[in-house]
């Protein structure tokens, strides 16, 4: 079995977004979809089918796992399954972030013309 997380790089954007959404707190499916939508200004909206396909893939790869912990009872909906980042998932996300930082620091990126902020 492979254990070098580097082999999974580069991550698909959607995978990376999902891992990032789990860095600060454990989430259930709909929460994840909303977090991703928020993080991308609505650019990435995951419908249930695709969301759970990504979840399944990441869970099968061992990057995320179902969580047994629950948030505060008043926030919790008992039926839902929550997901958390595994150690491997955190490591892979960190490596991807590192990789992207290197990309951003590269000369061609710096040479790109800055864009005007959209009004």
């Amino acid at each position: 079995m492979t254990t070098d997380p580097r082999q999974l790089l580069p991550l698909r954007p959607v995978d990376f977004l999902l891992l990032l959404a789990l860095v600060e707190q454990e989430q259930h499916g709909y929460g994840l979809a909303q977090a991703i939508a928020n993080a991308t200004d609505g650019l990435v909206r995951l419908e249930p089918g695709n969301l759970y396909r990504v979840i399944k893939r990441l869970a099968d790869d061992g990057l995320i796992a179902e969580s047994s912990k629950r948030p505060a009872p008043e926030l919790d909906d008992e039926r839902r399954r929550y997901y958390k980042l595994t150690a491997a998932g955190a490591k892979v996300a960190a490596l991807e972030a590192q990789r992207l930082r290197t990309v951003l620091a590269s000369k061609p990126v710096r040479a790109l013309k800055p864009l005007m902020e959209p009004a």
Partner: protein, 899 residues
């Protein structure tokens, strides 16, 4: 609002069926939650509903398609911390199965026993078939690259002459052709004579077969080039172990073969027994030594066809290419002036077939016979499996509560079925392993059967890895096939009644399946028993056929003094001395010789011509073939073949007297109609032969043959070095063995001791297929009947127990014992009746395949059908009576309270 939401959810939920099941089971509920949340948000925000649905639909379809059709490229890089992988599920199922099987030790033991008998039957037959036709030639390299080459015409083949072989070997490019011929030998060691089978082989024989010597070397240099100069032999590993105790100094030692000194140069590897490994071959000699080993044997005789050819394919050559080249070469050879008999010109093509370890002509019928036996044993396995399936079904009914609880607690039906099937497969595999033990025992039993065959057989019947794999495969498949139906039934439950613990009403479809299983068992065992009954009838009929001569009280011993280096003068002196000694024994009535024994699969024909007689399709006076034998004056007395006219062969019919023959009635009737045949003549190789006597017609080849023309020639006028001594005695003929051997030893201690049997045994070879079939189908038929009886008993006991409250009520309402008996037995016999009707129809179809083995006993033989039907019906009646009696004697108060 909430109604509409539920409706939308239901639509979404039904669309989720697009996903693979495991995905749905894992995430379905969560997806539905998500969907519900989205829907709520959409509604509160008042967004575009059609667009929402389209998006949801597209999402479902695309992701479901991905999930279904995108294969996972690599195994997951990090192990899944939780979750139910296939392997874990399997381990779990297996351990649970183990617990369930241990929990019901009696049922488990009975089921394993039943499966063991079924798989054991199949495995035993398969092991024998495997040993005879499937096992590759032992110690031979890459058997798949070997082919047997035969010289052929449109129909039929002939053996190859040495010249033909030389021509092929010298010119063939697609294959390396080797030649060999089996040769009975006499080998003298210090202690006495042996009669092993030998092969006389071409220079490249061992090369073509890819065999390496276990010790010493094979034939080299001038040994394979110069005729009659280098008397060398190679011996088999077994011969080396038996006769020389594996002494490694055996190479270089001398051995008397057919009276001449030969030097051992090598030992073949263990297991190697030539091209036909069912024959035990012990000695190999180079072709160049032919003249020394076979009297009048000449390599360059173009009219002597006696070699078998085997060839190894050249690389990248197909069998068709070999066949094309061999046929082309054969055409050239046939048209060249090779000096061979002109009527061989029609053998102008070559037939190329795979090396199966059996002669090409024999492998198809042998395979057919084994296929038949395998099918019969398959029936037993089928009955056993059906039996176990109905046991599993019965147990599944008892386990309804457990299954209902598990389903109610959320077990997926698929998972449950998998569990139940794992249980039955475990059962079948344990049974299969036990079945292999049955097969080991069964094949040992079969190896003890003495076959009335003169050649030394060397068949190791014990199951090998292939037979073991076959048995386990069969067990696995039957386990799945026969575990599935009960499992499907069991998991389809009516929750409410099952959870209430109401085990009484076991459901109509369930009992229908159980009834079908009973019907199936009865039908199959009827087929099996009919087959065995027909074989018994055929064997009986075969035994009662009058062969025309008296086989009782005759001892038989085969001799071949030619292989011991005797010429005609010495040979005659030996045979005369022997018959004189034997005749003087007090219990001997008559003694004589015959070259061939009737009904023993040995036949000989010769060409004769009769003035004024036109053989079919030929001109008057042309030659035609009749069956013949050479006998001495004592033979007719020994076999009590009665003369109907003239005289028998007499001592005065010697080499100086005129040539004579004794004909049978059919000969006279066909060739000299309207005469008694005495004094009539025919031509044999330009000699005029006079018929001096006529004997009654008798059987020669087969028991069901019509009378064929036959001629007996005097042994004294036609020297044969190999003959059978026949002795009529007033006592048990087998007891003459020591006396015969003693007489041989007294005349020449170097001769091999003959095996002494009886004429009864020697002629029983014609009934061999029937005898084997009776033994096999008899054992299997009884097994099948017992299994079916157990099955009927088990199912009826179970169903009577299930119906105990119903029976209790009936009794409480005034039914008497007889009514209860009638109820339960009636239920059983109804099923048995249906089963027998179906079985009868199947049997009438299936037994058509047995026709060639039945000596004219009709597959519709009423005696067999009535006897078998009666037996089966009585066994079934007994099997249903026992549970009925128990049900009838139960106290209604108790059975009602219990329910």
């Amino acid at each position: 609002m909430s109604m509409r939401a539920t409706f939308a959810e239901r639509i979404y939920a039904s669309m989720m069926r697009l996903y693979p099941r495991d995905f749905r089971e894992r995430y379905g509920d969560d997806m539905l939650d998500y969907f519900r949340d989205r829907l709520r948000d959409q509604r509160t925000r008042g967004l575009n509903m059609p667009r929402f649905w389209i998006r949801a639909f597209c999402d479902l379809v695309t992701s479901a398609a991905h999930e279904r059709f995108t294969p996972r490229a690599a195994p997951p890089p990090f192990p899944t911390p939780h979750g139910d992988s296939m392997l874990q599920a399997l381990i779990h199922d297996l351990s649970f199965s183990g617990r369930m099987l241990r929990k019901n030790p009696v049922i488990t033991a009975v089921a394993v026993l039943i499966i063991a008998l079924g798989t054991g039957a199949v495995s035993t037959i398969f092991s024998v078939a495997n040993a005879v036709i499937l096992r590759p030639l032992p110690a031979v390299d890459r058997v798949s690259d070997l082919v047997v080459v035969e010289r052929a015409q449109r129909s039929g083949t002939i053996s190859s002459s040495y010249r033909y072989y030389e021509y092929l070997a010298a010119n063939a490019k697609t294959a390396n052709v080797a030649a060999w011929s089996a040769l009975p030998l006499t080998v003298s060691l210090g202690s006495g004579g042996l009669a092993p089978l030998g092969d006389i082989v071409s220079a490249n024989y061992f090369d073509v077969l890819g065999v390496r010597p276990a010790l010493g070397r094979f034939f080299v240099g001038d040994e394979v080039r110069v005729p009659d100069a280098y008397p060398v032999v190679v011996i088999s590993y077994g011969f080396w172990q038996r006769q020389f105790a594996g002494d490694s100094s055996v190479v270089g030692r001398d051995l008397l073969v057919n009276g001449r000194k030969f030097t051992i140069v090598g030992v073949t590897p263990r297991g190697f027994s030539g091209v036909y490994p069912v024959l035990q071959t012990d000695v190999w000699a180079p072709l160049m030594m032919l003249a020394e080993l076979r009297q009048r044997g000449r390599l360059d005789n173009p009219g002597s066809a006696w070699l078998d050819l085997i060839a190894r394919k050249s690389p990248n050559v197909s069998r068709d290419q070999i066949a094309a080249e061999m046929t082309a070469l054969t055409k050239q050879f046939a048209t060249s002036s090779s000096g061979e008999p002109s009527d061989w010109k029609i053998f102008d093509r070559a037939r190329v077939s795979s090396a199966t370890g059996l002669p090409p002509d024999a492998s198809t019928p042998v395979a057919g016979f084994f296929a038949l036996l395998l099918a019969i044993s398959g029936l037993v396995l089928l009955i056993a499996s059906v039996n176990v399936a109905s046991m599993l079904l019965a147990r599944a009914v008892v386990r309804r509560r457990e299954i209902a609880v598990r389903l109610a607690l959320g077990a997926a039906r698929g998972r449950l079925i998998r569990q139940l099937v794992t249980e039955s497969v475990t059962l079948f595999v344990i049974g299969g392993v036990a079945g292999t033990l049955v097969a080991i025992w069964g094949t040992r039993l079969l190896e003890r059967i003495d076959l009335p065959v003169e050649l030394p057989l060397a068949v190791d019947l014990a199951p090998d890895v292939r037979a073991l794999a076959f048995t386990l495969m069969v067990a696995l498949l039957t386990g799945v096939a026969f575990g599935l139906a009960p499992a499907l039934q069991a998991s389809r439950l009516d929750f409410a009644s099952a959870l209430r613990g109401d085990t009484a009403g076991s459901g109509r479809s369930r009992s229908r399946l159980r009834n079908a299983l009973i019907v199936g068992q009865v039908a199959l065992s009827l087929v099996l028993l009919t087959a065995s009954g027909l074989f018994v009838r055929a064997l009986d009929r075969g035994r009662r056929v009058d062969p025309g001569f008296d086989v009782s009280n005759v001892a038989v011993a085969g001799f071949n003094v030619g292989t011991a280096g005797y010429d005609e003068t010495r040979g005659r002196a030996f045979y005369d001395a022997l018959v004189a000694r034997i005749s003087s024994l007090p219990t001997v009535l008559h003694a004589g010789y015959a070259r061939l024994l009737p009904l023993s699969m040995t036949n000989s024909g010769t060409d004769i011509s009769i003035d004024g007689f036109s053989p079919p399709g030929k001109r008057s006076g042309d030659s035609f073939t009749v069956m013949i034998d050479e006998v001495d004056p004592g033979y007719l007395d020994v076999t009590r073949l009665p003369l109907v006219a003239g005289r028998g062969i007499m001592a005065s019919d010697n080499r100086t007297a005129p040539s004579v023959a004794v004909a049978n009635q059919a000969f006279v009737k066909r060739y000299f109609p309207n005469s008694d045949g005495i004094g009539r003549t025919f031509k044999l190789n330009d000699t005029t032969v006079t018929i001096v006597g006529v004997v009654r017609d008798s059987k020669f080849k087969k028991l069901d043959e019509a009378a064929e023309p036959f001629l007996f020639f005097p042994f004294a006028q036609h020297w044969r070095s190999n003959v059978n001594l026949v002795v009529r005695t007033s006592r048990d003929p087998a007891s003459l063995g020591p006396a015969i051997r003693e007489a041989v030893r007294a005349i020449d201690p170097n001769l091999p001791m003959p095996a002494v049997t009886t004429l009864q045994q020697a002629t029983s070879v014609v009934l061999l297929p029937q005898r084997v079939a009776v033994a096999v189908t008899g054992v299997l038929g009884i097994l099948g009947l017992l299994l079916a009886a157990v099955g009927i008993y088990g199912v009826l006991s179970f169903s009577a127990a299930q119906r105990s409250s119903e029976i209790g009520i009936r009794v409480a309402l005034g039914a008497v014992r007889r009514d209860v008996l009638r109820l339960v037995v009636g239920e059983g016999m109804r099923l048995v009746g249906v089963g027998m009707a179906i079985g009868l129809a199947l049997a009438l179809l299936a037994t058509q395949a047995l026709k060639p083995f039945l000596f004219g006993v009709s597959p519709f033989d009423p005696v067999t059908i009535v006897a078998i039907g009666g037996t089966l019906a009585s066994v079934a009646l007994l099997a249903s009576y026992l549970p009925a009696r128990r049900a009838a004697s139960a106290d209604p108060a108790i059975s009602l309270r219990r329910s």
